[in-house]
Symmetry: C2
Subunit: 180 residues, 2 copies
């Protein structure tokens, strides 16, 4: 849950990031920036700001904005209605992203896990994305990511996005953001 | 057919557009910018510059660069191997794009047809895209587009791209660019 004031401030900051990076956004789009606190009520720590450009039943493109040190909680995209899960490519446009995926664990990862619970962030194969660098994630692969100290702007190119199907490792996560 | 010198110059200009718009590109990507003259040997008039970020068997993302007044010839994306044709979204990042699609013809279109033949550019329903504006094209829809006087940078988000399956209205078009 976040307050209306926190929500408005997050939208304003998100648009400032997009402006700074030179990403043109229409008036209509400015009004529908999505603020995701994942029901964890600590947006600055665990959250994500999203502008969805297009999401059809075949493909999807979004701009993701992350505030400094902000983390998108660990999750995966399972099969939906008999179709393979979402495949996604993250392309860093600005800042730096520390991405963690299933695979050989990396020792001494650069990101700081947002909490000490061993049941919320379980994969630690590190991929670091600087501007212009990208990574394509196969369906159903556990992943989480954290912005560096300048925050980050990341383009996401993917198959159809069905957020409500995502499976988060942290059982406290709610995909819906409640504004109160 | 274009000369090696023309090719190199086109790559250099393409990278200048991307730099100007603030799009970060890796060294590896700078070396694989695609210059398409569509076999028409007049790149400045009919051509397209392409940087493909990702193209899997499910989805694809590219950056398209167009020089001032340059036109991508009319074509459509048919069904391939029993799968629906390519669906694509064009999002203007910089400059202006005059896009023509199948539908109610627009009188006095803004673009200048690259030639007088009635058999090469047949659709004229006009869509104008300024920075931040986008248009999603259903599969198998005839379309062509031309950059405005500043040129254009356009992000393309789509399903899998199978260039060799594209059907061009102008029978002189060859999808392959020959450098001599």
């Amino acid at each position: 849950m976040i307050t209306r004031k926190e929500f408005n401030y997050a939208v304003e900051r998100t648009l400032e990031y997009l402006d700074k990076v030179g990403i043109a956004v229409t008036e209509e789009e400015r009004k529908r920036v999505e603020i995701a606190d994942f029901g964890l009520s600590n947006l600055e720590k665990e959250g994500l700001e999203i502008l969805t450009y297009v999401n059809t039943d075949r493909c999807c493109a979004k701009e993701l904005v992350m505030f400094p040190g902000q983390t998108c909680p660990e999750h995966r995209h399972p099969m939906v209605n008999g179709r393979p899960g979402k495949e996604e490519t993250f392309r860093c446009r600005y800042g730096r992203v520390y991405l963690y995926v299933d695979g050989e664990p990396t020792e001494d990862i650069k990101a700081l896990r947002p909490n000490d619970s061993p049941d919320t962030y379980t994969v630690s194969h590190e991929v670091i994305l600087n501007p212009g660098e990208q990574y394509t994630l196969p369906p159903n692969t556990l992943h989480w990511f954290q912005a560096g100290e300048e925050g980050a702007v990341v383009s996401e190119f993917s198959t159809s996005s069905v957020d409500e199907a995502d499976i988060f490792t942290d059982k406290n996560v709610l995909r819906e953001t409640i504004i109160d």
